[in-house]
Amino acid sequence: MAKMTMVQAINLALQQEMTKDDRVVLLGEDIGRDGGVFRVTDGLIDRFGPQRVVDTPLAESAIVGMAIGMAVYGLHPVCEIQFSGFAYHTFHQLESHAARLRWRSQGRLSVPMVMRAPYGGGVRALEHHSESREAYWAHTPGLKTVIPSGPRNARALLAAAIRDPDPVIFYEAKGLYRAFREEVPEEEETLPIGRPQIVREGTDLTLIAYGAMVRPAMEAADLLQTEDGVETEVIDLLTLSPLDEALLLQSVTKTGRAVVIHEAPRSFGPGAEIVSRLMEGAFYHLEAPIARVTGYDLIIPLFSRERWYLPNARRIVDAARRTLSL
């Protein structure tokens, strides 16, 4: 078991899936010789050649549109969109075709492809490079939206996504790419798509997060324990959509209180669905309204003000305390 960054862990998943299965091919901008702007595909072109690690012209709709054709053919293309802020160009291809071809052909065709893209803030980037708009995909029937929160689950979920028979949007929190290392087993490992995890057990309050927000949620849980003696349960969604609320309901049924956390703008954001599922399934167990700690309904500001936009442990603790005081 080696200690890896999330970048290395994702690289490992790609490497292993490609070694095992020649249907797996990568395509995207600058993923070859350059190894991707975040170096996620570093070294893969040397190992697998330019036939399987394909540098494309600068055209996102084409990357995804071609991947759809490749997937229908029987390959398992993994696209890299350089930043999720440029994934909007692919919207019509994903919504109108990737998400629909199985349905349109009534099961005759399928689109086993993955669209990987770095998302979210925290790296002092230029405009369009820090957005968190996973809700667009989550609201799109026919897609799956998977968001890992660290090296080990990133590796395991990406392997599962590549093997998945349906199109998967795989959002990688770029703030986590090199934020910390984790033991990642050399032997293959997958995690089921569609299954949230309890990452810390507690009885008084539930925090629900995913991606880069799991770490501040854990930090907040620590603070709540040491400063307030509150036992906080933390759930890492891992898959945003299709959302399986069973574990969330279980937790909130027990704790009666919850805070949902995401970087995305609040309104019509991912948290709203989680709140609604909890309202529908655990209403009579709720002792206080579920709070949302999220990005504001703004364009995420350029980096000098960014830290005031992104949720952090302090904001989560504040919301938790308010929830607990009700």
């Binding site: 054709g69 490749m70 229908v72 199985r102 009534q106 299709p242």
Partner: protein
């Protein structure tokens, strides 16, 4: 030379073989057997008659909106005639004749245009894609298939169709660029039927031809008389051979005409003249080709009539089959099938909701 003209390496050609009156340019006549010629004719006629029948059915309210193909049969059949079953065919939405030639059952169209997804199921051996409604989007799927075919070192080629309107879309551009960059075995067939709903091709582009757009990608472009099935066949044959032998993609512009409305929801009298339609009516690809076949002695009047009758019977049988089939279809709960390989829990919950609703609806109907 500091200031000079740049020559573009790739050729841009025009091709026509059989003129409006069925007169042949002998040296260009493709070498086709009698059986092949008859097959070409039969496929065009089947496309024509089926289209006419669909229009009748639509007018009777027996199917919903659909896009008629009348006038474009030669562009479609001349091109796909060059494909092998192992090749891929990636249509837009106005390639009924070509789809039928490729093996899509007639009744499937009727199901589809009657609002049954089941009509989009293609036969098992089929490698083709179902119709793509978002204009131009399918060009990229075709490029992806062609990329995969060359990755697998097969000699499959991919032929995709799109209209004159589609050439304005970004996806057309991106797809052709990709095909050229990777030298993919792609044949891009533009059915320039002069109109994109109400927008004439002159307002779609400032270029006198669509074929010249090939120069933006460094690939050969050819403009053919799209109502001349022999010219389309010959141009597509060259392109298919080039693609199959690793020579890369080709853009073919078939100059043709949409004789009917855009879809049955459209009223073309709002935007084009009867005279224009009449003019193109005279360039109808089918009588022209019949004249050629008769002149050549490939067929006699009797055989033509015979083919006509066969085609009508085939259509009638399909209509009956479809109407039978539709009686069995339509269980609302089926809408939950085939979104994902495996139904996620949230959809299982929603499916029960629909089940309950169907029960309530049934009760309402029986008690109401």
């Amino acid at each position: 030379m500091p200031r000079h003209d740049i020559e573009v390496a790739d050729r841009l050609e025009y091709l026509s073989i059989l003129d409006e009156d069925g007169r042949l340019d002998q040296p260009l006549e493709p070498q086709l057997s009698d059986d092949e010629l008859k097959a070409l004719y039969r496929a065009m006629l089947l496309g024509r008659r089926f289209d006419e029948r669909m229009l009748d059915l639509q007018r009777q309210g027996r199917i919903g909106t659909f896009p008629p193909i009348k006038g474009q049969e030669a562009s479609q059949i001349g091109a796909v005639f060059n494909l092998r079953p192992e090749d891929w065919f990636v249509p837009a939405f106005r390639e009924t004749a070509a789809e039928i030639w490729r093996g899509r059952p007639l009744d499937s169209f009727l199901l589809y245009f009657n609002g049954y997804n089941e009509g989009a199921i293609l036969p098992d051996h089929h490698k083709d894609l179902p119709i793509a409604i978002p204009v131009g989007s399918q060009v990229l799927h075709a490029a992806g298939l062609a990329w995969a075919a060359s990755y697998r070192r097969t000699d499959e080629v991919v032929m995709t169709f799109f209209g004159d309107g589609a050439t304005s879309q970004g996806d057309f551009h991106e797809g052709l660029n990709m095909a050229a960059v990777y030298q993919l075995p792609l044949i891009a067939v533009c059915q320039n039927n002069q109109w994109a709903i109400s927008v004439p091709v002159e307002k779609q582009t400032h270029t006198p031809t669509l074929a010249q757009k090939a120069h933006a990608y460094g690939m050969p472009g050819i403009r053919v008389d799209g109502n001349d099935v022999l010219a389309v066949y010959a141009a597509a044959k060259e392109a298919v051979e080039r693609a199959r032998s690793g020579g890369g993609p080709t853009l073919i512009e078939c100059v043709t005409y949409r004789l009917m409305m855009h879809t049955t929801a459209d009223d073309p009298r709002r935007y084009r003249s009867e005279e224009e339609v009449d003019q193109w009516q005279r360039r109808d690809p089918i009588p022209r080709f019949a004249k050629y076949l008769l002149g050549k002695g490939t067929v006699g009047e009797a055989l033509l009539e015979d083919i006509g009758n066969q085609v009508m019977q085939e259509i009638q049988a399909a209509v009956e089959r479809a109407e039978e089939r539709m009686k069995e279809l339509g269980d609302p709960l089926d809408m939950f099938d085939h979104l994902y390989a495996e139904m996620p829990s949230s959809l299982r919950t929603q499916r029960s909701e629909l089940e309950r609703d169907v029960a309530a609806g049934d009760k309402e109907v029986s008690h109401g």
